[in-house]
């Protein structure tokens, strides 16, 4: 492979990174649908609805507006893509997309989230913000609690 020598420059400089809690979303899921594919077990769970609450956003998860699309890999990790729509308390729409990983071994479930909001509306900041989060599956219920942190 080709050789490369870094020029003289201070590459050790790094900027600050901050995490701020912005809101949580509690969703209720439908029964899982499973199919065995050549890449793993594909699981679809419709999101029936939910509630968004927190310092930066309050509203509802639009009923049956999406779901969790999981792919169970051979190494015991599920790749979880989640898509759904939010309607804030003033009626504004937001699109949410998660890319997450869940580990069978220890229940770890973390994700990165990206949003689309009206560019002229009060949630436009979400278009320009990388968000990460942690997910807790409520035992004995088809419910997930997502907690979102803005990365700045």
């Amino acid at each position: 492979m080709r050789e490369f020598v870094a020029p003289e420059t201070d590459t050790r400089k790094v900027g600050p990174l901050k995490l701020d809690f912005v809101f949580r979303i509690d969703v209720e899921l439908d029964e899982p649908n499973r199919m065995q594919t050549s890449r793993g077990v594909r699981v679809f769970q419709r999101i029936l609805g939910g509630r968004v609450s927190g310092p930066r956003l309050n509203g509802t998860v639009h009923p049956e507006s999406g779901g969790e699309f999981g792919l169970g890999r051979a190494d015991g990790v599920d790749e979880l893509n989640t898509h759904f729509m939010i309607r804030d308390d003033a009626g504004a729409w937001l699109y949410v997309q998660h890319a997450g990983l869940r580990r069978d071994a220890d229940g770890y479930y973390r994700f990165a989230a990206y949003f689309d909001a009206d560019g002229d509306g009060p949630h436009a900041w979400l278009n320009d913000t990388v968000v990460i989060g942690t997910a807790k599956i409520v035992p004995g219920a088809r419910r997930i609690e997502f907690t979102y942190y803005a990365v700045s």
Binding site: M1, F4, P7, L17, D20, F21, I132, T134, S152
Partner: protein, 170 residues
């Protein structure tokens, strides 16, 4: 290389907490910046191409280098769509797909500034927030397949390079 663990935490007080830990950093040096003005989203949308000619990887959980010309950032108006290869010091090849958002920043304060029309001929200071995905072979680096990452990066001119810092979400 012995490093103090750098851990950032948030939440608590009734909010499900989160913690991230510095895993490694990457420097990337660039040569050409190519830009396509794409019309699908109006006059402010574009697609760009910039390939790393090399770089270094250092930190507590991964050391090595960027494989020269092993991919590129095929970025677009809102951010980032980068694919390239890392090589760990033990020789293992690791694929990175980087997704994220990018803005101008004030080098004095580190604060993000509002967007402006970029000029591919004069790379300007930019700050990025990223959520990369890695494919690593079985062995000492396979933890990267099972971990969500978040990072930040800054772009500097003269020479044209960026420095990324990645944290594992614990």
């Amino acid at each position: 290389m012995e490093q103090e663990p750098i851990i950032i935490t948030a939440g608590g007080d009734g909010v499900e907490p989160i913690a991230i830990r510095w895993a490694f950093s990457i420097s990337l040096f660039f040569r050409d910046r190519i830009r396509i003005a794409s019309a699908y989203g109006g006059e402010h949308t574009h697609r760009s191409y910039v390939a790393p000619i090399g770089g270094e990887v250092w930190g507590p959980r991964l050391q090595g280098r960027v494989v020269p010309c092993s991919g590129a950032d095929y970025g677009h108006s809102r951010g980032f769509e980068a694919h390239y290869m890392l090589q760990a010091s033990d020789g293992a090849l690791i694929y990175i797909r980087n997704r994220g958002l990018m803005r101008r920043f004030d080098p004095q304060t580190g604060d993000a500034l509002p967007p402006t029309a970029p000029n591919p001929q004069t790379p300007i200071l930019r700050t990025m927030r990223l959520t990369p995905i890695f494919d690593a072979p079985e062995g000492p680096h396979e933890w990267m397949n099972r971990t969500v990452f978040v990072g930040h990066g800054h772009r500097y001119p003269d020479p044209d390079h960026s420095v990324f810092t990645y944290y594992e979400v614990l």
